[in-house]
């Protein structure tokens, strides 16, 4: 594939900019989630699914994925430009992120021809929603301890066990499943298999879990002699851990190939500035309080700095000694910032922070309370902030591994 000329990229950027100026939804009348893990209502789900489809049909998702599978067939630079434009317009998140940014690039790299033909287009258009089956009730951060059993039976696998915290589990058509195919492995990380699993297979059922917000966002997923075709196997049987680790590299932004788009919206510090203007303390606007001003400035600096790090990561000579680190830290930094900002917003609301969603007295429909509670989905899901610290310490700073994680 030939590298695009500067002129071609310039024209493409202008086109994308014009398209997102016109089509980016504003003031939709309800709260949009900052991450796909926060999708809590059917209203949000339907809206985001339509939005993803619209972006895909306009050519701005998977622009660089092969045309024969449903991508745009362009050079990767075009999608990079489109994603930057999306960031600039602060567009709503990509709903099917597990598909577009994790499973999709994995399948394009190591999936079979049949996998690519069957799954890629539906991933991009959000027609087929994907979920992830990694965590189990007894194995969260310590993923290597998982127990869900996949027993080979001719051309099928028989699945028994349970997965939990399945984001979009009630909506998903497919799951990327990590299961134990060898019940007696040589070591903890051996004997696993990575299997693309149809959620409508007999024996698979989901039970909605009520989130701390009071909404239903994720599920526990049960497998009782669930019989699924073995052609969903990715990589060799028994090599699932290695495949899962590659998947996590996409998830953490340490490996390229994602369909693009925005999977985590940047928290907006200026939104709480408005809150501080309207909140009253002893007869005066809260924004006149020097202590609160100091705190607000801190939030703005922290968020702006991390936004600059995004841009910096793409500038050679300016991307520091750890270019991958600038992307790897994103999840930790943005998720913690979102939690702190919404928590601070609650304090600005004063007495009004007592009201919760559906209470007519609640300012902005209880948005801030829900945001704060929801913020934990991102500080815990996809690897807790504590695990993120370990990853950054070990992979970026070169500090020794945590002995606790070594095989017993």
């Amino acid at each position: 594939m030939t590298k695009p000329t500067k002129q071609e990229l310039k024209e493409y950027t202008a086109d994308a900019d014009a398209w997102f100026s016109e089509h980016t939804p504003r003031d939709v009348g309800f709260m949009l989630p900052l991450t796909f893990m926060e999708v809590g209502t059917d209203q949000q789900f339907d809206f985001l699914r339509a939005w993803q489809r619209k972006q895909y049909e306009a050519g701005y998702l998977g622009a660089h994925w092969p045309k024969e599978y449903g991508g745009g067939g362009l050079h990767p630079k075009f999608q990079a430009v489109a994603s930057t434009v999306m960031q600039k317009h602060n567009v709503p998140i990509t709903l099917n992120a597990i598909g577009t940014n994790w499973a999709g690039p994995l399948l394009l790299d190591i999936g079979s021809e049949a996998h690519k033909k069957k799954y890629i287009k539906g991933i991009l258009s959000a027609e087929d929603i994907w979920c992830q089956g990694f965590s189990e009730p007894d194995n969260g951060s310590d993923l290597g301890g998982l127990k869900l059993r996949a027993e080979r039976d001719g051309n099928n696998y028989i699945l028994n066990g349970s997965k939990i915290w399945t984001t979009l589990g009630a909506h998903a058509k497919y799951m990327i499943l990590l299961a134990r195919s060898d019940p007696d492995p040589k070591s903890k990380y051996a004997g696993m298999s990575f299997i693309l699993t149809p959620m409508d297979a007999p024996g698979i059922s989901t039970k909605k879990i009520k989130k701390i917000t009071g909404e239903h966002g994720f599920t526990q997923t049960f497998f009782e002699n669930a019989n699924i075709p073995a052609d969903g196997l990715v990589g060799a049987e028994g090599q699932g851990w290695r495949v899962a680790m590659q998947l996590l590299e996409y998830e953490r932004g340490a490996r390229a190939g994602q369909a693009g788009g925005i999977i985590m919206q940047t928290p907006d510090a200026f939104a709480i500035v408005d809150l501080a203007r309207s909140a009253i303390r002893d007869g005066k606007p809260a924004i006149d309080d020097p202590v609160l001003r100091d705190k607000l400035v801190d939030f703005i600096i922290e968020i702006h700095a991390q936004n600059l790090n995004q841009i910096r990561a793409k500038i050679p000579g300016l991307n520091s000694e750890h270019p991958a680190g600038l992307m790897l830290m994103n999840k930790l930094v943005f998720s913690e910032q979102a939690r702190e900002i919404s928590q601070f917003a609650m304090t600005l609301l004063g007495e009004n922070s007592a009201w919760y969603v559906d209470e007519t007295n609640a300012p902005d429909g209880g948005l801030w309370a829900r945001s704060y509670l929801n913020a934990f989905s991102a500080t815990i899901g996809g690897g807790t902030s504590e695990i993120q610290h370990n990853i950054l310490a070990e992979h970026v700073l070169g500090l020794p591994k945590d002995n606790i994680r070594v095989d017993a």
Binding site: S320, L392, L399
Partner: protein
């Protein structure tokens, strides 16, 4: 969302960073830094000659005066690497002096001083006064007319590397308005300079008693836009101070990571313990954020600098303070000794924090800029 400054890097900045990185690593190893702690002058004359020979003193001076016509954006990476290696000396203050001379001096004065600065003459800055107000506009030092020119009264403090300097540039009030006076070091009696004992042992700092000192008319610099020029100087000083701190943050972090990888307790390197490794990650994130803000401020310095510079200054201070503070703690009892390099960085961080407005001061200014 409000539009904040962008980030970018030009080719000259890359070149300057490469050059400075190699130069400072070679010329300012930690043994050299320690050897200079007890040196009266505080920096090596031969290293200074090499800085001059490399053209680094003229980066931000226009070519008509013998410089290379670039700007502070290209100075920032040089100062960042000096900060990394704790290289001390009159570099930043000389650059800043040239910057404001270029902006307010007469043609004759520029012709007289700027080529000399490019050629390696050093210029100290006398901006601080006993009142300790960070705003450069609050000046009590007076220049009053006398027979041969002016007579000065007042005192300047925290004048870095003043004793070894060729010139000292001081702020004064003349006829009710701020002005600058450039002093020839040779004309200042020895008793007028008193060495101060300051927290950063790599810096030589002096109090300068100006009472009764007389100057010629041509040593006075007056300009209708002096208040703006002093504001610009204040921002330039903060930009370079941020660069020093960002450099220092990186170095002290590396120092601590090395130690955490090699110090064994309970059978494991201490860096394996989350009580050590997690704060180090936080320190590193602080460093990366500060560096992003620094290069954004350098990138936008010629246009809309104030918000970007103050943000960089805030984050550089807090990142450096945290990284150096944890460096001492994670070195254990060794960290408490004068022999441990962590202390050099912590002292440097405290010194830098004290200059030109600390983080709280900058955030107060930022609030007014962002929320008005």
């Amino acid at each position: 969302m409000r539009k904040l400054a962008d980030i970018g890097l030009n080719e000259m900045q890359v070149e300057m960073a490469d050059l400075a990185s190699r130069f400072c690593t070679e010329k300012s190893p930690i043994e050299q830094v320690r050897a200079l702690l007890n040196d009266k002058q505080g920096y090596s004359e031969s290293v200074w000659s090499e800085i001059v020979a490399l053209g680094l003193t003229g980066i931000a001076v226009s070519s008509e005066f013998g410089g290379s016509g670039l700007g502070l954006a290209e100075v920032a990476p040089v100062v960042e690497h000096m900060g990394r290696t704790l290289m001390a000396g009159p570099y930043s203050d000389t650059i800043l002096a040239a910057h404001i001379i270029n902006s307010v001096a007469s043609e004759d004065q520029k012709q007289s001083y700027l080529p000399q600065i490019c050629a390696g003459r050093t210029c100290a800055l006398g901006l601080s006064e006993p009142h300790g107000d960070w705003g450069l506009g609050k000046i009590t030092t007076q220049a009053s007319p006398s027979k041969s020119g002016y007579v000065l009264s007042g005192e300047k403090r925290l004048v870095s590397f003043a004793d070894a300097a060729d010139f000292i540039l001081v702020t004064v009030v003349q006829d009710g308005v701020p002005a600058l006076v450039i002093l020839d070091r040779k004309d200042i009696p020895g008793a007028a300079l008193r060495r101060e004992n300051i927290i950063d042992e790599t810096v030589r700092s002096y109090s300068l008693n100006l009472n009764g000192l007389t100057i010629n008319t041509d040593a006075l610099m007056v300009s209708t836009h002096m208040p703006d020029a002093l504001n610009a100087l204040h921002l330039a000083a903060n930009l370079l101070n941020a660069a020093v701190m960002v450099g220092g943050t990186k170095a002290v972090l590396d120092l601590t990571i090395d130690y955490a990888n090699t110090r064994i307790q309970f059978g494991r390197p201490i860096g394996a313990y989350q009580a050590v490794k997690h704060p180090l990650v936080d320190a590193w994130i602080g460093y990366e954020k500060a560096r992003a803000l620094l290069y954004s401020a350098a990138h936008s310095f010629s246009t809309e600098a104030e918000i970007a510079v103050r943000m960089a200054r805030v984050k550089a201070e807090t990142a450096f303070a945290f990284a150096a503070d944890r460096a001492i703690q994670f070195h254990g009892a060794t960290g408490f000794t004068h022999d441990c390099d962590a202390g050099l960085y912590r002292r440097r961080a405290l010194y830098c924090a004290s200059r030109y407005g600390d983080a709280a001061y900058q955030k107060h200014k930022l609030a007014n800029l962002l929320f008005s």
